[in-house]
Amino acid sequence: MSSLLIWYFSRAAGAVALLLLAIATMVGLIGAAPRLGPERRALVQRLHRSFTGISIAFIALHILTVVVDTYVSVSPLAVLVPFTSAYSTFWVALGTVAVDLLIAITLSSLMRRKLKHATWRYLHLSAYALFPIGAIHAIGVNGSDPSQPWMLGIFGFGAVGILIAVTIRYAQRSKTADFRHRAAATAHFEDLGR
C-alpha cells in the first residue's frame, strides 16, 4: 500500500476528527443550556455523548494511521508523551497534549460517580481547550494545508460555532430552575457553615 496514501488518509481523518470535535463541543454546550427545557436537554445530552464517541473514533483512526505510516516518523510513545516525536516535534506535541486531555476527560466521565462533582466539572471544562489545541496542531503540522479552503472552513465553523454555543449555554441563566435553586439555597444560613 502506498505510504503516501496512508499519509493523506491520516490527514483527512485528522481534519474530520477536528470537525467532529467542534460539533461535539457545541452539542455539549447546547445540552447544558437550561432554557432548552428538560426533554430537549436530555436528548441533546445523548447526542453529545454520541458525537464525542464518534470523534474519539476518528481521532483514534487519525493517530493509528499516523503511527503506522512510514512517510513520517511518529512513534507510539509520541502518541501519549509530548515532545518525543521525531517528526515535527512541537506541533505533534500539541496533538499529544490534546489526546492526553481527552483521555482524562473521557475517563473522568466514565467514572463520574466515583469522583467529586467539582473534580469532574473542572476537568470537563478543560474540554474547551481541545478544539483550539487541535486546530493549532493542524496548522503547525501541515505547513501548506491550512490555506486550503476546507481546512479554513473547519477552523471558522468550529470557532464561530463554539462561541455561539457558549452564548446559548449561558443565556438567561437566572430564569432557570437550577439557578433558582442555588440562589434560594445559598440565601439561607451562613451560620450553618459553608
Binding site: 428538560p38 436537554r41 445530552q45 462533582h117
Partner: protein, 72 residues
C-alpha cells in the same frame, strides 16, 4: 453497579438535586416533577422492563443526584 442484583429502586439525593428535570424527561413513567421542578420518584422496585430507562435517567442528571440502588 451490577445488573445482576434482583431488583432496583431509584433514590433522589434531595440535597444535591437542583431541579434540572432531565431525569423525569428520560423516565416519565417512573418520575414526575412537582410544581417547583423537583422529582417525585415512585417508591418500590423498578420493573425489569424499565431498568434501562431508569439507568438512563440516573445517568442524565447533571449533578448525579439520582441513583439506582439495589433493593434488599
Amino acid at each position: 453497579m451490577s445488573l445482576k442484583a434482583s431488583a432496583f429502586r431509584l433514590r433522589v439525593d434531595p440535597i444535591g438535586c437542583q431541579a434540572h428535570g432531565l431525569c423525569a424527561a428520560e423516565f416519565p413513567d417512573g418520575i414526575t416533577l412537582d410544581e417547583w421542578g423537583y422529582p417525585i420518584v415512585a417508591d418500590g422496585p423498578i420493573g425489569a422492563d424499565q431498568i434501562r430507562r431508569a439507568k438512563r435517567a440516573a445517568s442524565a442528571c447533571p449533578v448525579l443526584a439520582l441513583r439506582l440502588l439495589p433493593v434488599g
